[in-house]
Point group: C2
Chain length 502, copies 2
Amino acid sequence: MWDAVAGNKKFDRVREILKTASDLEHAASLLFWDRETGMPEAASKERASQIATLGKIRHEMLTSDELGELIDELSQGMDLESLDDIPSLLRVGKRDYEQARKIPSDFVGRFAAARSRAAVAWRKAKEANDFFVFRDDLQHVLDLAIEKAELFGYETTRYDALLDQYEPEMRSETIAAVFDEIKEVLVPLVEGLSGLTVIDAAFLEAPVDRQKLREFGMEVATAMGFDFSRGRLDYVTHPFAAPIGPNDVRITTFEKAEFIGPLMALIHEAGHGIHAQGIPAKYVGTPLWGEPGLGIAESQSRLFEIMVGRSRPFWAHHYPRAQATFPELLGDISLEHFYRAINRVAPSFIRVEADELTYHLHIILRFELERSLIEQRLSVDDLPDAWNEAMKEYLGIVPDKPAEGVLQDIHWSMGNFGYFPTYSIGSILAAHLMELASRSEPAIQEELAEGRCDALRAWLVEHVYSYGRKLTPPELIKAVTGGPFTPKPFLAYVKQKFGELV
Amino acid sequence: MWDAVAGNKKFDRVREILKTASDLEHAASLLFWDRETGMPEAASKERASQIATLGKIRHEMLTSDELGELIDELSQGMDLESLDDIPSLLRVGKRDYEQARKIPSDFVGRFAAARSRAAVAWRKAKEANDFFVFRDDLQHVLDLAIEKAELFGYETTRYDALLDQYEPEMRSETIAAVFDEIKEVLVPLVEGLSGLTVIDAAFLEAPVDRQKLREFGMEVATAMGFDFSRGRLDYVTHPFAAPIGPNDVRITTFEKAEFIGPLMALIHEAGHGIHAQGIPAKYVGTPLWGEPGLGIAESQSRLFEIMVGRSRPFWAHHYPRAQATFPELLGDISLEHFYRAINRVAPSFIRVEADELTYHLHIILRFELERSLIEQRLSVDDLPDAWNEAMKEYLGIVPDKPAEGVLQDIHWSMGNFGYFPTYSIGSILAAHLMELASRSEPAIQEELAEGRCDALRAWLVEHVYSYGRKLTPPELIKAVTGGPFTPKPFLAYVKQKFGELV
């Protein structure tokens, strides 16, 4: 991508700064990956310092006056709306630069300290099952998140400033409207499905041979398009995907030896990995390499996990091999029983254990509560009651312990307000992308029935991955779907899939 | 260690720079460790860039005018000869700074490029068994090594400048004198031992269960004093130890499933690890944390590998458990047979496969040849013949292929002239330290017979590790032995151990 500006010394310097920042980011990814996969616990303090040091150097480079001036000078007379590589680099680089400059390093330090304290208090409160052990620290982190939002600035509503960190240019108004439409369909649908006889799904949590599961999972991920020669699979407590570089994309899953949890987490992370492996290599070392936002990223993991990995054609192909590999576990379970078991719907308290449908009600609840907190329409003291009321309204159940309610997630203690909605944005968009892809490429559904995803991946590379970070999420959604962010294809998919299961 | 200068802003800034450099070094260690243990091969180019980027940033910080000026200002009126923490920090920091400033970054780039090319040519030449495929690149790297020596400067002989990178303040004259004394004893001793009936040692290379070997090896390393809660064990092609931080010291060994090779490599690297884990934690984040030189470092790995790990008392204790763990392999082999098999002496072509005695003749040969090359008393064209002549003289055998002769080691292609002698310095010093320790602490030999090394490690912590990098190798040798570097205790040990085996 640099050929167009070869020999330009200012571009050479920009390239050098961005490449250095990219190397630092990837090195920090490895430090993080290693901490989660194999570092001796005794080293956690020194590792935190190492990660912070790389982050600090990177931040200094990316907020230097020099870089800002270079970007400004090089942008002169250039059409920054263009999707060509160099103008896109300057446009995205300028946006990143301006955002990064808004947060003074004094604030970064104060926020980090408050987060550390709050994470400790949150853990204690969760263990003690007492929200008020966490209350003061939550208030402090919330105050700082509000301060951060004011530092970033916003057009209409303060929450937008925080959302923007995770899903650039997405607006809370848009999300609220989409979530309202979804609630209207999901609340009664979940109620209806919950009334049905519950299918036996206990076998999904029975013990299996971990090595066999690893082989089966890697085979499935490979069939989907994840390239293990440019990545690897490891085990962690909280699964994630980490790009250490374009040819080193690492995925992880649960260590526990049971069938569906580790397998689905593996497929989910492989979806992230397929995305990372599919972004054009020429963008590496620039801000164009990466995902446009967390919702877009999640659309890829959820597309492979749900639209592929929980679909009938996928299991029609893979289930016989699963049965042959785990005869004691699955030998007596029919494909239909298995399919219904992995797609059963039932309200529960814990978000990360929720099924495909109720998951969104958990997210909507959090989005609404955190938006109210940030916009100071809800006080921290009233949060536990508000949580329980929303649970009653959306899922019909109320947790009797805060550890299974308002204290279950780590996000707020980390100050990550604005993060939750990206999970549902991902699923909603995944359904839309699958619908578009299947309509334009009939081969996709045919291949799926043969256990392959080549045509699907080719479509995604062309319509999503090839942009890298050139487009913001709303721009990308417009480019690929032709319209704004909409829940309609998602709702059509939900009604079709779950209507049939009633 | 910073309490003495608390509140001093200049010291605070020095501390910040050094801590950042230390974090970068440890992050780079992890990138290296990961490349060797588990990185997808496809990522080697991007990993090289990441490692180079961290190194470059670190080098810039450690050669900045700011750091130099701070060290100079803070040194004013301070007794830099003192072994207290702060004066030592300034003394060692100043030395490191001055050395690092001598090499311009333009040279670093040229040298790195030449090394990369030479490493490729070396591999090709080795495969083709043709020295002249490597000749021109070796000449180029040698020319640059000479240029580097001139940049560093030296008092009497050019080779000293290169040796100084690995063993600060050690002089080639000293080493040559020690090596001459050793040669005089070893050449006839090896000749005598080679004449004896060769003991059957084939069982040492028979296949064993890797998991059992791992458990046995970890038990032995733990008994020696390596703390696995602050480290881990992995498998690689070329074993090494990597401190990723004070509480994260990683050791590695061979992947192959045979008894003695992987076990001895594990013990060797555990020796390095015990050293790293024994340096006072207060020095972390400063140039005082680490080893004074490669020879001193090697003295610790060789002490545990040879003085402990190939000794009679050690195996008298551990052998019954080894037999119980590997009954098919060792059940019929007596302790005496085993002891003689692991200590057999026989001339061979390959340094890394050589026994305890002939190893030093391999090293002396390389030291003499590379010193002649650097001081331009030997031409590259004459190197292969000179190699074979020395082999004939020292070991009585001549390789018929350069791959088993002059082309066997990677060091020269990497430009690492001056590195080889540190291997023998380590063994020579290890024997001296063991003799001193055993004399002053009789408990050491008693514990060894019980399979433990607590008293030995306590002695090493007090007399060696506690200094960190405060002393140069000659200073440390003087501090611990009371005299200059001498081969006498090593030769006494050799005569005693191998005299008995004749």
